[in-house]
Structures are given as structure tokens and as C-alpha cells.
Amino acid sequence: MNTLIVIVGLVAGVPILLSSFAEIPVISDLAQEFQRWGIILAGFSTFLGVLNLTFVNANALRRRKQAGQVIEPVVVLVMLWGLVLIGVFFGQTHPAYDFVFENVLKPLSASGFSMLAFFIASAAYRAFRVRNVDAAILLVCGCLVMLANIPFGELIWSDLPVVSDWIMRIINGSAMKGIVIGGAIGAIATALKVIVGVERSHLRG
């Protein structure tokens, strides 16, 4: 099995890697075909998500004894399979699907993320302390950028947008550039290890 996995990794990765450096028609065609297969498999993996959620909640239903405890798994399963069946057989333009997307999924997505505003205000107040030089630099730059991002900032100090732009472009830009370059070297090394089968942590579990 391990040998098969290594072979599959090599077969999948090598044509695409070669086609990045040389224009060989047979290799390029194979690479493009494998990319299309990758997209198809990504599509299958979305149904794996459906299956996984079904099994997890079905097991939760089996384990729970009291009526009050089964509501949540039932809600998940009804919403999941109701929407899947309507979407697959009738499409997204079906009124029921459209209603759920517009009035359940979109608002809940947005509401969940909007809670982060409360948490960031509370966390900034509680944790953002000037304990040392590093924290002081972080605080000063953060405050300058926050002020410059709003129209009031320019009213307080007319040069604030220029200073903030310089911090973002030059200071932040050079640090991010270093991180991107270092990250690229690490990504190339890790990806090569994955293709040849040395790195297999993604297969655990």
C-alpha cells in the first residue's frame, strides 16, 4: 500500500512539475488532464463532507437518550439533506433553495463573522499592553494605521495618511516580502517531499 501511495504521488505530481519547466506536448497534455481530474476529485470531496456530517450526526442521534438532546442533530440532517435534494433535483433557483440561501445561509455566515468585532474590541482592551519594545512598536503602528483608515485621521494630523501609507508599503511590505520569500522556499521543499512520498502527514487519520 505504501509503495502504491508513493507511485500515485509521483505519477500525479511529476508531469505537472515537468510541464512547468518544459513545453513537451505529451507531458503538457497529461498534466492538464491530471489537473482536470484534480478538480473532479475536489468535487467528490464536497460530497465527502456531506457524508461525514451525516455519519457524525447520525451517531450523535443514536447515542443521545433524551428528546431534548436530539434536536440539534435532527436539524443538521434535515437542513443538509433537504437542501442537497432540492439543489440536486430542482437547482438553486427553486424558491425553497433560494429562501434558505438568502435568509438562512447568507445572514448566518455574515452574523458569525460579525461577532469577531465584539471579540476584537474586548481582546484589544484586555490583552494589548505595552510590556516591552516589541509591543510598543506593534501598538504604535497599529494605532497609526487604524487612525489613518478613517476620515478623522487626516483631520487630527494632515500627514497621517502619508505616514500610514509608508508603514504599509515599505515597513510592512519589506517584512511581508521576507516572509513570502522564506515561505516560498519552505513550500517548495515541503511540496517536493510530498510528491516523492517522504512527507505523508496529510494521510494520517
Partner: protein, 275 residues
């Protein structure tokens, strides 16, 4: 508990209520604030202005409904600009919810502007896979997209005639909330085939755009709700983003005030402990 210790221990619920009140007041009682357009937002506008009518503009919906507050107004402002310039709008997407939400936004704007689906704009839909999708799109778009989101074959759509790969696209705009998103477009399309890319990103992603802006891999970036408000100003209308800038300002001032209060309390108590 001393005054300075109490300054560091405002209850969480009090902060949450303050946040809601401080953000709601300028929404209910709007205030008009001057808005300066940032150079990177202007660069996106100029890139679209430079296109001839009939040029192909690809909009990639790389966001989820979680960031609709930022990505929605950005999408609306850019689409109004694009359709107003009579560019051909091709929508693709790396994330599912954003593509569906963008379809609704563009349907509304296209109907206002008298634009026809299949002639002036088309939605090719969401494809899972991130980098793999863009690698395929760069090489051979027709193999990846055989039909649009409604199932109509591309050959039957007037807007798709002559569109075979990313090289036929004149400008790409990725409205993005993370990865895969604008950076994926830069890596897989801009660097590989040379198609110019601009981005409209959430404010969180703005710092990571700096190296790509400096290297020219990104021509310009619309950043966050502020960037959307600036773009609305450039296009010539006041939408949700502009309406939100007052609340944004008050929100920032609240967070700054809380940080300053917390640090005053911390430094004062540290001093008294050392003393």
C-alpha cells in the same frame, strides 16, 4: 480595587453594548465625512478605465457570505464601473457562496443598466479546487468550463465567442477574502501567462498584498470597506460602503480609546507595584 485597576477590568458585556451603540448611532444619524482616495484604489479604477469598450473583464468571486459586508459593496462598485464602461463581464469563482451572492448583485445592476445576460455578462460558476482550477483556466478555459452556471453551452453564448484561455482576458479582478483568492490568481495566472490582475480584498488581507503591489504583480487593490467607499466615490455614487464610513470611524475611535484606557491602567498599576 483602585481606580486604575478598575480601568483594566471593564466587563465584557459592557464593551459589547458599547460597540453596538457606538456603531449604530452614526448609521441611524448619518454623518458626512471627507473621503480621500488611496493610490492603490485609484490604480484599480485607472486599470479599468484604460480598457476599451468590448474588452473582456474577468471577475473572480473568491469570497464567502461571511465577508459580504466588505466584499458585497466592493463587487457592486466594480461591477457598476465595468458595465458602465461597456466591458464584457465574465464571472468565475473559487468559493461557492460568493459566486451565488455575486450572481444576485450583478442581476440587479445589469437589469438597472439594461445589460443582457449572455451578451454583456455571463456567470461561468464556481469550481472547487483553488490552484488547480486556475492552472486549468490559464491553459484551456473551454476544457474547464463547457457551459455557464445555467447549463447553457459556451458556444451558444455570444460573450464567450473567442474566449479560449486566460490569455484572451484583458483584466482580471479577484474579489477575495483569503486563500484561494487574489494571491492564487497572481501565482497561477498573472505570473504564468501575464494577464494583468487587480484585487478587491478584505482589510485583513491588505498587508499581504504589499509585496505583490511593489513587484507589480498586482496593479492595484481595493481594500476593505474603506476601499469600497473610495471606489464608490470614483464611480460616482454613494452606496452601503459610504454609508458605513461614519460607523467605521466611530468604531476605530472606540477601540483606540479602550486600548489607551487599558494601557493607562496597566502602566499606573505597574508603577505603583514597582514603587
Amino acid at each position: 480595587m483602585s481606580f486604575f485597576e478598575r480601568l483594566q477590568s471593564i466587563p465584557r458585556i459592557t464593551i459589547y453594548v458599547l460597540v453596538i451603540i457606538v456603531l449604530s448611532i452614526p448609521l441611524i444619524f448619518p454623518i458626512s465625512l471627507p473621503l480621500q482616495v488611496a493610490p492603490m484604489t485609484q490604480a484599480v479604477y485607472d486599470a479599468i478605465e484604460a480598457l476599451e469598450p468590448g474588452s473582456i473583464f474577468m471577475l473572480s468571486t473568491d469570497w464567502e457570505a461571511s465577508t459580504e459586508a466588505e466584499s458585497g459593496p466592493q463587487t457592486e462598485a466594480i461591477v457598476r464601473h465595468v458595465l458602465g464602461r461597456d466591458l464584457k463581464l465574465i464571472i468565475v469563482g473559487l468559493w461557492p457562496q460568493g459566486n451565488s451572492a455575486t450572481q444576485q448583485i450583478v442581476e440587479r445592476i445589469a437589469s438597472e443598466m439594461g445589460k443582457t445576460y449572455g451578451v454583456d455578462w455571463v456567470n461561468l460558476g464556481y469550481k472547487p479546487g483553488g490552484e488547480v482550477v486556475l492552472a486549468s483556466l490559464a491553459a484551456n478555459l473551454r476544457e474547464l468550463y463547457s457551459s455557464d452556471v445555467k447549463g447553457t453551452p459556451l458556444d451558444q453564448l455570444e460573450i464567450c465567442r473567442g474566449l479560449t484561455s486566460a490569455k484572451d482576458v484583458d483584466l482580471v479582478c479577484s474579489v477575495s477574502w483569503g486563500d484561494p483568492g487574489h494571491i492564487t490568481w497572481v501565482k497561477m495566472v498573472q505570473t504564468q501567462v501575464g494577464v494583468p490582475v487587480v484585487a478587491a480584498v478584505t482589510a485583513v488581507s491588505l498587508p499581504e498584498c504589499a509585496p505583490y503591489l511593489q513587484s507589480g504583480q498586482l496593479l492595484g487593490v481595493v481594500g476593505g470597506l474603506g476601499g469600497a467607499a473610495q471606489y464608490e466615490k470614483l464611480v460616482g455614487y454613494a452606496g452601503k460602503a459610504t454609508a458605513g464610513m461614519g460607523a467605521q470611524s466611530f468604531g476605530h475611535i472606540l477601540v483606540l480609546t479602550l486600548v489607551v484606557l487599558g494601557n493607562i491602567g496597566y502602566l499606573a498599576t505597574r508603577k505603583s507595584k514597582e514603587g
